[in-house]
C-alpha cells in the first residue's frame, strides 16, 4: 500500500514540476467548449440541449491528449523496468498510474466544467447531473487511456495510435455519460444511466490494471 501511494505521489510531483500538460489539456477542454457554440450558433435553447454532448466530447478528446505522459518517460529512463523488479506487483503499479492519471488529467477538467456550463446555458439540475456523470465516468476514461498508453509505449508514434485504439472502447462511457445528464429532471428522469456509468468505471478500473501490466511486461521484455 505504501509503495502504491509512493507511485501516485511521484507522478503527482512530476506533474506539478513540469505541469505543462495539465494546463494544455485544460485549455484544450475549454477551447472545444468555446469553439462548439461558435460552430453551432448562439441559440440558447439549442446550446443548452447540446451542452452535455459538447462537454462529454470535449472531455473525451482532451483525455486523449496527455496519454504519452503516463508511461513513455518511465519506459525510456528505465523506471518501469525497475518497478517490475520492485516489491510491488505490476498490476498495483498500473492501478496507481490510473489513479494519478485521473487526478492529473480528469480532475482539473471536472473543476473547469462550471465555466463551460455557464457558457452553454445549462440548467441547474442538468449541470449537477453532468458533474456527477463526469465524476462517475472519467475513471473509466482514465483506465482506458492508460491501457492505450501501455499498448503503445514502445512505439515512436504511439501518441497517434493510442487515441484510435481507445475511441471505440470509450463509446459506452460517452453514451451513458451524455444520457446521464437527464437523470435529475425532465420527462425521462431515471438513474439507470448513472448506474451503468458507475458499473463501467468499476469494471474498467478493476480489470484494466491486469491488462496494462501484461502489456507493460511484454514491452519491457
Amino acid at each position: 500500500m505504501r509503495a502504491f501511494l509512493i507511485v501516485i505521489g511521484r507522478d503527482l510531483q512530476l506533474a506539478v514540476k513540469n505541469g505543462g500538460t495539465t494546463v494544455t489539456q485544460l485549455i484544450f477542454y475549454l477551447s472545444i467548449g468555446v469553439i462548439m457554440p461558435i460552430a453551432i450558433g448562439p441559440d440558447k435553447q439549442v446550446l443548452a440541449s447540446l451542452a452535455p454532448a459538447i462537454i462529454w466530447t470535449a472531455a473525451l478528446l482532451s483525455s486523449l491528449l496527455g496519454l504519452e505522459r503516463i508511461f513513455v518517460g518511465d519506459h525510456e529512463d528505465g523506471t518501469l523496468l525497475s518497478m517490475g523488479h520492485a516489491n510491488i506487483s505490476m498490476a498495483a503499479v498500473s492501478l496507481a498510474k490510473i489513479v494519478s492519471h485521473w487526478m492529473i488529467s480528469a480532475m482539473p477538467l471536472i473543476f473547469a466544467t462550471p465555466l463551460l456550463a455557464v457558457m452553454l446555458f445549462m440548467e441547474m439540475p442538468e449541470f449537477l447531473a453532468t458533474m456527477l456523470a463526469l465524476l462517475l465516468g472519467t475513471p473509466a476514461l482514465a483506465a482506458l487511456g492508460a491501457l492505450g498508453a501501455a499498448v503503445s509505449v514502445t512505439l515512436k508514434r504511439g501518441g497517434v495510435v493510442a487515441p484510435i485504439l481507445i475511441l471505440p472502447l470509450a463509446i459506452p462511457v460517452l453514451i451513458f455519460g451524455v444520457s446521464g445528464a437527464n437523470s435529475f429532471a425532465g420527462p425521462s428522469a431515471s438513474g439507470s444511466a448513472m448506474l451503468f456509468l458507475g458499473a463501467i468505471s468499476l469494471l474498467a478500473v478493476a480489470f484494466a490494471p491486469f491488462a496494462i501490466s501484461l502489456a507493460l511486461r511484454a514491452a519491457e521484455e
Binding site: 515512436k156 425521462s188 463501467i200 511484454a218
Partner: protein, 275 residues
C-alpha cells in the same frame, strides 16, 4: 524463438505443437491450399446459382432480397474473425506460440475487409428497403464500431517494427476489445432505444427454405473463402518473417566480415533473429 528452425533437435514433442510449428506448418498446409480453393469455388458456384436463379424474390423486398446472400455471410464473418483473433490472442499470450501471433496478424485486415463489405452491402440493401443508406440502428452502429476496432488493430500492427514483441502487446489489446464488444453492443442498443423505438428488424426469424438454402450455402462459401485467404496470409507472413531474418543475418555476416561494428546497423540488437 526463430521462425525457421526445423532441425530435428528442436522438433517439438507433442503432436499439437508439431502441427503448429511454423516450419512444419508451412510443409503440411501447402497441400491444403489448392483443395480448399477448389472447394471454395465450387461452393460459390452452387451458392451463387441458388441465390440468383433458384430462389424466389421476396414478396415485399423483391429482387433486392438477393443482397442478403452476401450481406449476412459477411456480417457473420465480421464477428467470427474477431473470435478467431481473440482465440489466437490467448494462444499467443498463454503458450507464446509464434503461429498464433501470425494467425492473429493475418486475420486483422481480412476482418476489416469483410466488415466493410457487410456495412457496404447493408447500405445498398437499406436504400431500397428502408429508404436510407444509413440508420443509427443498434446493430449497424456496433458493426461500425467493430470496423473501427479492426482498423485500429491493423494500424497497431503496422506501427510495430519488431513484430514478435508487438504480438504479445497486441494480443492483450485484442482480448480487451473482445471483452468490450458485448458492452459496446449493449450500450449502443440502449442508446438507440432511448432515441427511438426500433422499427427495423433485420432478418425475420421465420424464413422459407427457398431463401434459407442459398443463405446457408453462401455463408459456407464465404467462410471457406476466409479460411483460404487466412491460410495464404499466414503462409506469406511466415515467409516474410523468414526473409526478414535472413536479410538481417546476411547484413550481420557481411558486416562482420568487412570489419564493421554491429552498432552500425540500425536495428542494433543484431543477433539476426526474431527475438
Amino acid at each position: 524463438m526463430s521462425m525457421d528452425n526445423t532441425s530435428p533437435v528442436n522438433r517439438p514433442r507433442n503432436w499439437f505443437s508439431a502441427l503448429a510449428h511454423p516450419g512444419i506448418f508451412l510443409g503440411w498446409s501447402r497441400h491444403f491450399i489448392r483443395p480448399l480453393i477448389f472447394l471454395t469455388a465450387v461452393t460459390f458456384v452452387i451458392g451463387l446459382w441458388f441465390s440468383f436463379f433458384n430462389s424466389p424474390p421476396d414478396y415485399q423486398m423483391g429482387e433486392t432480397v438477393r443482397i442478403m446472400y452476401i450481406h449476412v455471410p459477411t456480417a457473420w464473418l465480421s464477428q467470427m474473425i474477431y473470435s478467431i483473433m481473440a482465440i489466437s490472442a490467448i494462444g499467443s499470450l498463454v503458450w507464446r506460440h509464434p503461429l498464433a501471433d501470425v494467425a492473429m496478424k493475418a486475420a486483422a485486415p481480412l476482418g476489416a475487409a469483410f466488415t466493410a463489405m457487410a456495412l457496404f452491402t447493408g447500405a445498398l440493401w437499406g436504400r431500397p428497403t428502408w429508404g436510407t443508406y444509413w440508420e443509427w440502428d443498434g446493430r449497424m452502429t456496433s458493426t461500425l464500431v467493430l470496423f473501427l476496432m479492426y482498423l485500429g488493430l491493423v494500424a497497431l500492427w503496422n506501427t510495430f517494427s519488431e513484430q514478435s514483441r508487438g504480438a504479445r502487446i497486441i494480443a492483450v489489446f485484442t482480448l480487451v476489445g473482445a471483452i468490450n464488444i458485448p458492452i459496446i453492443k449493449f450500450s449502443v442498443e440502449w442508446w438507440n432505444a432511448l432515441h427511438q423505438p426500433s422499427i427495423i428488424k433485420a432478418d425475420g426469424l421465420s424464413m422459407p427454405a427457398s431463401i434459407y438454402t442459398p443463405l446457408l450455402i453462401m455463408t459456407l462459401a464465404f467462410t471457406l473463402l476466409f479460411f483460404v485467404l487466412h491460410l495464404v496470409n499466414i503462409r506469406s507472413e511466415i515467409f516474410r518473417r523468414r526473409a526478414n531474418s535472413l536479410e538481417r543475418r546476411h547484413v550481420m555476416e557481411s558486416g562482420s566480415e568487412s570489419g564493421h561494428g554491429a552498432g552500425e546497423w540500425p536495428d542494433g540488437n543484431g543477433n539476426g533473429r526474431e527475438t
